[in-house]
């Protein structure tokens, strides 16, 4: 499975009439951004969380438990030192994939800022793209 990185493009799809006719498959959704290549095109922290982090850490950031677990990011003291979540998103940790090659410095700063100010976290110091650039190995 080789990685390919074609230029980015965004698929923005509205609530198509087709979806409305497919009630069995779920209700029509809001607009959702789709990336077209290896890298994410979502730009806001909120959208990056909803389209990426939420896959494992769940919609409420509460994490999940199976044979192993996905840690909760809610009310999480580990987010206090911004360098820690920056490093995790850039490099990954254990089973968590690294996102350093899939997001820009600005995207990583955006999603870290979003996490540190939502889900019961309220850290006021703002992370910048430069902070992320400095954290890259």
């Amino acid at each position: 499975m080789q990685q390919s990185r074609p230029s980015s493009r965004t698929w923005r799809l509205g609530a198509a009439a087709l979806l409305a006719s497919l009630s069995a498959a779920g209700s029509a959704q809001d607009d959702r951004t789709f990336s077209s290549g290896y890298r994410f095109v979502e730009m806001t922290g909120e959208e990056l969380f909803a389209n990426v982090c939420q896959g494992c850490h769940m919609r409420d950031a509460g994490g999940a438990i199976g044979a192993g677990s996905y840690p909760s990011l809610a009310d999480n003291r580990n987010l206090e030192a911004a360098g820690y979540p920056i490093s995790l998103v850039v490099n990954g940790r254990r089973g968590m994939p690294p996102f350093g090659d899939m997001m820009t410095d600005g995207q990583i700063a955006a999603v870290v800022n979003y996490l540190r100010t939502h889900f019961g976290n309220s850290y006021q110091d703002v992370v910048t793209a430069k902070d992320v650039r400095d954290a890259r190995r």
Binding site: M1, Q2, Q3, S4, P6, W11, L13, A16, L18, L19, S21, L22, A24, A25, G26, S27, A28, Q29, R32, T33, F34, S35, S36, G37, Y38, R39, F40, V41, A50, N51, V52, C53, Q54, G55, C56, A64, I65, G66, A67, G68, S69, Y70, G92, R94, G95, M96, P97, P98, M102
Partner: protein, 299 residues
């Protein structure tokens, strides 16, 4: 889409309109052709009758009485006499049980094993911690009829697309059967879309697969019946599709991961050169068993 074929007077075949060279180039066809030019395994593939999980079911048929289901391993300890695995039955998780043996071949995915206390050397522990797990999503769609065969003369194979669903794969058996058919409506890995689909609810994954697939097969709208989506990061016993080794991690850690550490050896697709493939898992098991047998016979 053009008619698949034309017949002229007297039944002679008539040539259709060929694709323009620029359309072929713009489609990035070369990228997709690479799928059939892999050098590290045989790219002509066969499918077990009934689907890939028939291989797992065949193992269960042969050794099923040795399998304890619904057990969650919580700790692996070893000393110079043997290995003790602590586990809980998920039906009664309060009681910790233990299994003991002279040796242990552990096939727990590294996404989970890296979270457990395991008595292994620092080098093996570093290797267990060095492998992120890839995201992947498959979506099955059931239709009232096999319209891809009836309307478009598509018999098996795959439509590759740059839509977020990436592939539509058609059943390679049961051709021309009347009634229902099931398509692989999306097969997503390596890249942003795998995460985007993982982050959706199962119902939205199916709805999006229909929405995108209908751009290729408009029959979806009228023929769709039912669907199911699997996102491997959400599978509780795997927490990911497969070990996503980087070149650097493989150089530093792969040999350490595969060594027999005291009385514990690891096996699985993550301990193979063919991650994500059943072939990799089976080759890894044969390798681990062969080396363990040699070790036991020598001591």
């Amino acid at each position: 889409m053009a008619e698949p074929f034309h017949l002229g007077q007297g039944g002679q075949p008539l040539p259709g309109e060929p694709l323009a060279l620029s359309d072929i180039l713009k489609s990035r066809v070369w990228r997709y052709l690479l799928n059939f030019a892999n050098y590290n395994f045989q790219t002509t593939m066969f499918q077990p009758v009934g689907g890939m999980d028939m291989i797992g079911k065949a193992f269960a048929r042969e050794v099923g009485d040795l399998i304890r289901y619904n057990c969650k391993v919580t700790r692996i300890q070893q000393n110079d006499r043997g290995v003790t695995v602590s586990y809980v039955d998920t039906a009664s998780p309060a009681a910790v049980r233990q299994a003991q043996a002279d040796w242990c071949i552990c096939t727990i995915p590294l996404s989970i094993l890296s979270q457990l206390p395991v008595d292994v050397s620092a080098a093996v522990k570093s290797a267990i911690d060095a492998v992120p797990y890839a995201g992947s999503v498959k979506i099955g769609l059931q239709f009232k009829r096999r319209f891809w065969e009836e309307d478009e003369a598509i018999y098996g194979g795959i439509s590759y697309t740059d839509l977020p669903i990436r592939q539509i794969a058609y059943p390679n058996t049961g051709f021309n059967r009347s009634g229902r058919g099931v398509l692989l409506g999306a097969y997503i890995f390596d890249g942003a879309n795998a995460y985007e689909f993982t982050a959706m609810t199962p119902a939205e994954r199916v709805a999006r697969a229909i929405e995108f697939g209908a751009m290729i097969h408009p029959q979806y709208a009228a023929e769709y019946e039912n669907g199911i989506a699997v996102a491997w990061h959400r599978v509780p016993f795997a927490l990911g599709c497969s070990g996503d080794w980087s070149e650097e991690a493989r150089i530093t850690h792969y040999r350490n991961l595969c060594q027999i550490d005291g009385r514990i050896a690891l096996a699985g697709e993550h301990a193979s050169a063919l991650p994500a493939w059943q072939e990799g898992a089976i080759l890894s098991s044969l390798d681990a068993i062969t080396r363990l047998h040699d070790r036991v016979m020598r001591t």
